[in-house]
């Protein structure tokens, strides 16, 4: 699952795009090590020691993992849910196009 995200981050490195995680592992030290090991370069909020029941996922009504939301440059949630994972690349391209960046995402996997 990290491969796709890593690929997005790499391909969009010079675009107005950010991948922000909300990590729901209860043990922050452990996940920090994993992030280091797996070279996950994007920044994550930590959902707190309650793990999946932490405050951020609660506020966002997340009860399935992973869950994605796509937020446009104005801070408006534009997509979320099952469809988003299927069409993620296309949705990102669309939102970037809205602010004048034409991108064609490609992935190895």
């Amino acid at each position: 699952m990290y491969a796709h995200e890593r690929s997005l981050v790499e391909q969009l490195a010079d675009k107005p795009f950010a991948l922000i995680g909300v990590n729901s592992d209860a043990d922050r030290d452990e996940i920090r090590d994993i992030v280091k090991d797996k070279n996950l370069s994007w920044r994550s909020f930590w959902n707190g020691p309650q793990g999946t029941r932490g405050p951020i996922s609660r506020q966002w009504e997340v009860s399935g993992w992973p869950t994605l939301y796509l937020i446009d440059a104005d801070g408006v949630i534009r997509h979320g849910g099952q469809d988003l994972r299927r069409n993620l690349d296309q949705r990102i391209e669309e939102l970037l196009a809205e602010i004048g960046h034409d991108v064609q995402l490609e992935h190895d996997n």
Partner: protein
């Protein structure tokens, strides 16, 4: 007295069984020369702290009785326990929406004071029963893998063997089981706090969660449906499946999220014996409770009610140690039992032997022996049934009674409010080593050990009519996780237990002689519904002659019923039928296990589905295998749905298992704790203005990153942001 299957000491050999039904799963690690994994140092718990060996080991090392307080002192960090909210849920007649009263069962709420600190408070007084014995003997429930597939940690062994291997050898590290749920004071204090308002207030209606539905099904006595809901809850809610992980039961050599008990009756009166069976706890064990006119019953009932008041009167009637009740020789406490309830049926045949058995089970349930899921489950009741319960004749069935205190679950429910913290804190201090006293001694203060628990349950069960022989086929919830499975022969009961998806049985065999003064003997059998190869289903049994029980009690000696239950529980059931940490599983074990599950037929396929999903979430099973297994267990196409990230899709997939129920109105989220419940229902939409809504501004997040540096989501305004809720599991 106890029958113990003779076992050889386990050897360090693991087994792999080729799974023909699952040729598609690669099954590496089996067949060849085998691999060896050595046992590296002391096992640790999830915090990395060493797990103290369990009590049986302590007993073995010390060669004597373990100190009563060892559970409190063992230093083993406690597992987080989900908070238990005492939400009182009521259905309206439409059945669609509910009123939820939060904190109704808090200390000042509707739970009667009698509940507070009742059963568990007595733990500190527990005698050390059998602790010394327990470590000294062979494991009673043990043996090879369940069908050769799983490594098996055994209490009392630091390493464990796997018998019956077919073609491979490798050693596997196993964990020494920690003691789930002991020293429970702290966690339960927390649990109590969560229900702490102590006052009743109505909040807006919310949709029923699957957990709510399970609790209602328990309230209806529909144990099977209740468990389907519990399993569905785990399949739909990611947080729940994390909160209630698989745990290991060495007697089954299988994992479960919940261990399910059945209690059955065998009844063998002599052919010339008429009337109702004499029971243990009857002041005159040789007397027969004949059907009598209702007026007589009413008179007697007055006497019973007075004498049997919990904590009052010295508990003379039941324990035989006070003497107050015996002035009315015709006044059997079991005379006016309402036998329409499962509890009533059990007490009708098994008297206070059955009652104390329920105490043992309930204590263990409350202390996580049978999985944390069952600690959460409770009996909830639809509001409309409360009205019926008021009629004079229709004494409430304790499992169905409205209002917070509910028969067998009464203490549990009361305890979930303010009472629980206190009660289990005492348990922690005293340990549960001697739960002889633990289950019976508390609450009543000066009351004799034997009397209090029996009288409290019995009082719930007294009716206005004379006890009638219950329907042999009565099946229903005694309390969540323990069901009565009726009266039949042993083999029929075993079949019934399997059909009902149970794991272990306790069977009371009541035999009455045909002489003028009939003698009664009750045998309690412990049955493993998943015996391993070469083992019998009957793990242990113990006989009690009612006459002997009565005379020992008269003489003020230790209660034979308690000794018998120690043999069944502490020396047998607690060895194999008690949750312990999962062994260190590797992918090949898991694949083998999943292959096995796919090849079997299941009375409730949601249970193995939970197992598969748990393995998948743990990273022990590849997604493609998980999908195939779920397709095989639940139906073609179900794998993708159940593993879908979309909760509503998962919920929709569950609906085929609940025909006639409208799952569309089901609430989601946080249901496992009750504390973070959210709902998809419209009623909740207005409550929180900062929920994420497509087309609206994203709720702000301002929080620490993994390095502890605070940042904000809005820092990224001007960029397209992919917000990814993720976890490495």
């Amino acid at each position: 007295m106890i029958k113990i299957p003779v076992l050889t000491r386990a050897v360090l050999v693991a087994t792999c069984v080729p799974i023909l039904a699952l040729a598609l799963l690669s099954f590496s690690g089996c067949g060849g020369g085998g691999e060896s994994v050595t046992f590296n140092g002391p096992p640790t718990d999830e915090n990395g702290d060493p797990i103290t060996p369990d009590r049986s080991q302590m007993g073995a090392a010390g060669g004597g009785a373990a100190p009563a307080g060892d559970d409190a002192d063992d230093g083993a960090p406690e597992r987080a326990r989900p908070a238990q909210n005492n939400n009182n849920v009521q259905l309206n007649r439409g059945g669609q929406r509910i009123q939820r009263s939060i904190g109704a069962a808090g200390p000042g709420g509707t739970v009667p004071p009698a509940n507070t600190g009742s059963t568990n408070a007595g733990n500190s007084g527990g005698a050390v029963n059998g602790a010394g014995l327990s470590g000294a003997s062979e494991p009673l429930i043990s043996g090879g893998l369940a069908n050769g597939l799983y490594p098996q940690p055994n209490p009392g062994f630091s390493q464990v063997g796997f018998g019956g291997g077919l073609n491979a050898n490798f050693t596997v590290p196993v964990s020494v089981p920690a003691q789930p749920g002991n020293g429970a004071g702290a966690a339960d204090g927390f649990a109590g706090a969560s229900g702490n308002s102590g006052s009743t207030r109505d909040v807006e209606p919310v949709a029923l969660t699957l957990l709510d539905r399970a609790n209602f099904a328990f309230g209806e006595g529909d144990e099977k449906k209740a468990f389907q809901y519990l399993y569905a809850h785990l399949l739909v809610d990611d947080a729940a499946i994390q909160d209630y992980p698989l745990e290991w039961y060495s007697g089954l050599a299988q994992p479960r999220v919940a261990f399910r008990w059945g209690v059955g009756i065998q009844y063998n009166p002599a052919s010339n014996f008429e009337g109702n069976p004499p029971v243990i706890g009857d002041p005159e064990n040789v007397r027969i409770v004949n059907a009598a006119p209702a007026s007589g019953g009413r008179d007697n009932r007055g006497g019973s009610g007075r004498t049997l008041g919990p904590g009052g009167g010295g508990g003379g009637l039941l324990g035989g140690d006070g003497g107050g009740g015996s002035s009315r020789p015709e006044d059997s406490p079991y005379k006016n039992l309402d036998t329409r309830s499962p509890q009533g049926m059990l007490l009708f045949y098994a008297g206070d032997f059955g009652d104390k058995t329920l105490d043992r089970l309930e204590f263990r349930r409350d202390n996580s022996y049978y999985g944390r899921l069952l600690q959460m489950a409770r009996v909830e009741e639809a509001a409309e049934e409360a009205e019926d319960a008021g009629s004079e004749f229709n004494r409430p069935n304790p499992a169905r009674r409205s209002g917070p205190p509910r028969g067998g679950s009464q203490r549990t429910i009361g305890a979930a409010g303010g009472g629980r913290g206190g009660g289990n804190a005492a348990g922690g201090a005293g340990g549960f080593v001697g739960d002889d006293g633990a289950n019976t001694g508390g609450g009543g203060g000066a009351v004799g050990n034997d009397a209090i628990s029996a009288s409290s349950r019995l009082q719930e069960l007294l009716g206005d009519s004379v006890a009638r022989r219950p329907d042999d086929n009565k099946i229903g919830t005694l309390y969540p996780g323990v069901m009565l499975i009726g009266l039949a022969t042993k083999s029929e009961l075993i079949d019934r237990g399997r059909e009902l998806g149970l794991d272990g049985l306790l069977i009371f065999n009541v035999r009455v002689s045909g002489s003028d003064v009939p003698e009664t003997t009750t045998t309690l059998r412990l049955i493993n519904l998943y015996p391993q190869e070469g083992q019998r289903e009957e793990v242990a049994s113990v006989n009690l002659k009612h006459k002997d029980v009565a005379s020992r009690r008269e003489a003020g000696r230790s209660d034979p019923v308690e000794s018998a239950l120690n043999e069944i529980f502490e020396q047998a059931a607690d060895r194999g039928f008690r949750a312990s940490p999962m062994p260190d599983l590797r992918a090949e074990h898991v694949e083998g296990r999943v292959g096995q599950l796919m090849g079997e037929t299941h009375v409730d396929p949601l249970r193995p589905a939970v197992e598969v999903v748990s393995f998948f979430r743990e990273g022990l099973l590849k997604e493609e295998y998980a999908v195939k297994a779920l397709d095989a267990l639940l139906g073609e196409g179900m794998g993708d749905k159940v593993l879908s990230m979309n909760q509503e899709e998962r919920l929709a997939a569950m609906s085929r298992f609940f025909p006639g129920d409208d799952l569309a109105s089901t609430g989601f989220g946080g249901g496992s704790s009750g504390a973070s419940r959210v709902s998809t229902g419209a009623a909740n939409m207005a409550a929180a203005p900062d929920k994420p809504t497509i087309g609206e501004l994203a709720p702000e997040i301002e929080s620490e990153d993994l390095d502890g540096v605070t940042f904000k989501l809005s820092d990224y305004r001007g960029k397209v942001v992919l917000l990814d809720f993720w976890g490495d599991w």
